[in-house]
């Protein structure tokens, strides 16, 4: 729009972002859909922002618990304040970002897990399914009851693709394995997550995985309480239950953000949808900690080999974004 052009210029006038490489005054904002302090999905993103701040000396700002109805206003306000890069962390931020992006052509917009794009708007999708695939192999390899379980937050692509990859991987390692899955329709209700896990344990599951952010922490608690094994998600969750958490999928959100910031600084930021996975160092798995010795060598090798195959591009993990039952 014509009204906003002026503000946009004002915003970019003082920060001298014409000089490549220099970051003085570069302003980056992050918009989160949930609590920043969730020790998971949002926390890793914020960590990334802080890291960019440390590395490049940018000015940063963030907003948490932003509802869908307020998303557009948040993008617009940050843009009007002259932020050069505005990142929304979650698929629902894609469309507003693209929309506001059109009105502020000199600034950059980004959303994760979305499929929107524009001239100055990019979507960075993390190939989380690559991590989940390895967890599926691990869980299926470790089960004694031939039953494993996975708890999902909401039925949305970023979650579903992990669950689906998990199921395929499990069958690959152990064709007889039974994979139980429950979506609890919450990212925050840890007790519900725990109960979902308990229900699967009652049905014989002895290794569990979760893709439910905060609520998923309850899954780990359940495994710990019952002396069973599980895999974590988002970051290395071993510290929550060192006796239970064999390994975790890790998203290197900080890298995603620093990459984007670097690109802005280098004037290389482009619109589009980009997939970042293990090969890019964005998705990884955590160390095995005490389980290094407890996981059978054979299985461990199999998993690590698969990881290498994924990184080298030899193997492509299928990305299935709607639930198959």
């Amino acid at each position: 729009g014509c009204g906003s052009e002026q503000t946009a210029k004002e915003g970019s006038a003082g920060d001298g972002k014409g000089d490549a490489g220099k970051s003085d005054g570069l302003k980056v904002a992050l918009i989160l859909s949930g609590p920043a302090n969730d020790q998971g999905w949002n926390a890793t993103a914020l960590e990334g922002l802080k890291k960019a701040e440390d590395e490049f000396g940018i000015t940063s700002a963030y907003m948490e618990n932003v509802d869908i109805a307020d998303t557009e206003a948040a993008y617009r306000d940050y843009a009007a304040q002259g932020f050069d890069l505005i990142v929304g962390h979650g698929f629902q931020f894609g469309e507003p970002a693209a929309k506001v992006g059109k009105e502020f052509p000199d600034q950059y917009f980004m959303a994760t897990e979305s499929n929107s794009q524009g001239d100055n708007m990019a979507s960075y999708v993390m190939s989380c399914e690559e991590g989940a695939y390895l967890m599926g192999m691990l869980c299926a390899g470790m089960t004694k009851t031939n039953t494993i379980g996975v708890v999902g937050g909401f039925e949305q692509p970023s979650i579903t693709k992990e669950l689906e990859a998990f199921k395929i991987a499990a069958k690959e390692v152990n064709p007889d394995v039974k994979v139980l899955e429950i979506y609890i329709n919450s990212f925050v209700d840890a007790s519900l997550g725990k109960e979902a896990a308990m229900s699967m344990i009652d049905q014989g599951a002895d290794v569990l995985y979760h893709v439910a952010n905060q609520a998923g922490t309850g899954v780990i608690t359940a495994a710990q309480e019952k002396g069973l094994l599980c895999c974590g998600n988002s970051y290395d969750q071993n510290s929550i239950a060192p006796d239970s958490v064999m390994c975790s999928t890790v998203y290197n959100m900080p890298l995603v953000i620093t990459t984007a910031v670097q690109q802005v600084m280098d004037h290389k930021f482009e619109g589009g949808v980009f997939y970042l996975g293990m090969a890019d160092g964005v998705v990884d798995i955590a160390p095995f900690h005490d389980f290094e010795d407890k996981i059978p060598k054979e299985l461990m090798d199999q998993v690590l080999a698969k990881k290498d195959a994924i990184i080298s591009g030899e193997f492509e993990v299928p990305r299935i974004e709607s639930v198959t039952k």
Partner: protein, 311 residues
């Protein structure tokens, strides 16, 4: 046969686990509502209990102190509600909603202050299971009822005590009188305000305990909005159970059962969006309510502040 018993046992156990916080909070709320004070801020009471319980346990590594702190946290909220509703005569629905907002913010804020922005989840010990000798050997019921932690035992004892007090003692009569006709109670020489404050205090104690159960028994950690709407479900249990302690337990068990059932159905892999299963507890509550036709009798003065000097 043993298989059926096993299924019953697991369902019973799952229902009871989920029913425990709802029942604990529901008992306190029943008491408060019987006296004429309705507290929609049960969610805030529980959240405050969860937070205080966790943080004190985290600091002192003493679960007993933690539980006490949880209770204190609950009392803080319920007393705030009590003063606003009894002394300031404010609209009780509004107080409850406002406190829910306030304590959602406050607990999250203080948690942030205490631990900072972190990706490491601070955890604390959880209470141990106490196996009651002999009783725990009974088939089906034994493992469910007598292999539990302190919260569950407190809940069972409280149900008995509440039932006795409500229906067999003068206190129960006084509570009814204050909730049904506060002016009559006042003119009979009862201290209406005192009794209501007392009932609110009890609500705080049990609501706080319910909150502490979540962090100190169920999870072992705290996070923003950890109660996630359980306060509202406890309110449902109170109305569904008609403020009868046993009724509250049964209602809470029903909600728990519906959740256990929906999880089991989901794992069967039926190709239906999961939300269709997630709504089951709520649908179940509505259906059960249909059987309470013409039996819902609220205390006449529920939600109405008593002002002595007013006509």
């Amino acid at each position: 046969m043993t298989e059926i018993l096993a299924v019953i046992t697991t369902y019973l156990a799952a229902s009871l686990r989920m029913a425990t916080p709802l029942t604990l909070a529901g008992l306190g709320e029943s008491c408060s509502e019987k006296s004429g004070v309705i507290n929609i801020g049960l969610e805030a009471i529980m959240l405050s209990g969860s937070f205080c319980g966790f943080i004190v346990t985290f600091w002192t590594s003493n679960l007993f102190l933690g539980i006490l702190a949880g209770i204190a946290g609950g009392i803080l909220v319920s007393m705030l509600h009590a003063v606003l509703s009894i002394k300031c005569c404010a609209d009780q629905n509004m107080i409850g909603l406002a406190l829910n907002f306030l304590f959602l913010g406050l607990t999250s804020f203080l948690f942030l202050k205490a631990f900072g922005q972190t990706t490491v989840l601070p955890t604390c010990d959880t209470v141990n299971v106490i196996r009651i000798p002999l009783l725990s050997e009974i088939p089906v019921l034994g493992p469910v009822l007598f292999t539990q932690n302190i919260f569950v035992y407190i809940m069972f004892i409280a149900i008995g005590v509440f039932w006795f007090v409500f229906y067999k003692t003068d206190w129960g009569i006084q509570l009814t009188a204050v909730g049904e006709h506060p002016r009559a109670a006042d003119t009979a020489g009862l201290n209406v305000f005192g009794i209501r404050y007392g009932a609110c205090l009890i609500n705080g104690i049990f609501g706080g305990m319910a909150g502490a159960y979540i962090t100190l028994s169920q999870l072992g950690f705290f996070m923003e909005n950890v109660t996630a709407g359980k306060g509202y479900m406890a309110l449902v249990a109170v109305i569904l159970g008609r403020r009868n302690p046993i009724g509250v337990l049964l209602a809470a068990m029903l909600i728990g059962f519906a959740d256990a059932l929906q999880f089991n159905l989901q794992t069967m892999g039926i190709a239906v969006p999961s939300q269709a299963f997630s709504m089951m507890p709520y649908v179940a509550a509505v259906i059960v309510l249909l059987f309470s036709v013409n039996h819902s009798s609220n205390p006449s003065a529920l939600g109405i502040p008593y002002q002595r000097n007013k006509r």
